[in-house]
Symmetry: C2
Subunit: 211 residues, 2 copies
Amino acid sequence: MQVFVLFSGGKDSSLAAILLEPFFDVELVTFSFSLLPVGHIARETAESLGFAHRVVQLERSVLEQAYNLVIEDGFPKNAINLIHRAAVEKLAADNDISFIADGIRRDDRVPVLEMPLIRSIEDRHGVHYISPLKGYGRAAVNELVSRHLVIEEDRSENVIKADYETELRELIRQRDGPEKITEVFPAHVQSHVIERKKVQPNGSNQACTHD
Amino acid sequence: MQVFVLFSGGKDSSLAAILLEPFFDVELVTFSFSLLPVGHIARETAESLGFAHRVVQLERSVLEQAYNLVIEDGFPKNAINLIHRAAVEKLAADNDISFIADGIRRDDRVPVLEMPLIRSIEDRHGVHYISPLKGYGRAAVNELVSRHLVIEEDRSENVIKADYETELRELIRQRDGPEKITEVFPAHVQSHVIERKKVQPNGSNQACTHD
C-alpha cells in the first residue's frame, strides 16, 4: 500500500513520513515551479532520511495565481493554501495514487484544506487524503521531532527550503524586490532537517530497530 | 516514551494503538463504572492484540451526570462527550502520564473534544493529548483496519462492548427499561475486534514483521 507524502524537506513532512513508514510504502513528493532548484534540495533531504522521492512540476499559472493573491492580500495565507490545494489535486488526479499525505499539524493555520474541499478531492478522485499529524499539537510534534530527527535552526535567509513559500518569495523578489518580501512574509526561524536519529526499541512488542 | 490509549476494545482505538506502537511504549486504558464487566471484556481484546492494559474506575457521579444529560437531551452525544472528557482529564491528572491518545477519527462527531478544551487539558496538566486517526477519513480508517485487524460484524445487542455507551445503556435499562434505550440510542452494527492480522513487510526500510 503506497502513500505519497507532500514533502517540503521540513520537519513536519519528514515526521509525517516517519510515522507512516511502518504501515505504507512511502514516497516523498516535492512540487516545483522550476523557478528555483527546490526539487534538488528536497531530494537531498529525502535521501538522507532514506525515502524514495520524486519531483512534480506544478503549472506556472498556479504560481501566478498565488502571486496575485499574496500581492492583493498583503499576507501569504491564501496564496499558500492555493498552491497546497493545487498540489494535492494534482496527486489525486493521478490514477496510480490512492493515498496522499501531508505534514499538516493540529495547530497549523497555513496551509490548511477545509473539510468540504478534502471530501470533494477524496470523492472526485477516489483517493484518501491523510494528515498523520492532524491529531498532534505543536508540543507533541516537537517532542517526536526531537526524538527522530537531527534539526538545525538557522535564521539565515540564504538557505533555500523546498516549501511553497520559497518560489513565491523568489517571484516577488524578481518583480517587486526583496523589500516586498519582508512586507508580506513574517520573519521566522528556518529549521533544516539534517538526518534521522537512531531510535532504540521502546519496550513495545516490536522486535526490530530501524537502521 | 509511554502513551496511554483510551481503549474501548473497538476497531478505532485498536488501530490508534497499532499506529502508535512503533514509536511509543503503548498501554491501553479502559474506563469503567463497574456497572458491567467492561474492563474484563476490553482486557481480553487487549491481550489478543498484544498490548499492556489497565482498567481505571471512573466516578459514579460522572455516570449520573451523563445519565441526566442523555435523558434530558433525548440523544447520547453530550453524555458521551462528558464521559470522554472525564476519562481524558483523569489520565491527564496522573503525574506519571505525559501522552494520552484516543481513537477519534476525522469524521467522528461523538465523542469529540473541542479545541479550547484540549488546549486547557494540555496546559493545566502538562500533557500531550493526541488523536492518531484525526487526520484520517472513515474510508482510510476502514482500509487500515481491514489490513491490520480481524473484525466480526454483529447486529446482536447481546454482546457487550467496552465503550462508554455500554454502561450508560445499562443504567437506562435498569431505570427506564429497554424501550428507553431504543428511543435514545441509534441502532447500529456492532463490530468486534477478534485479533491482529499478520502484515507483511511493505517494501519500506523496516526489516521486521510483527508476530
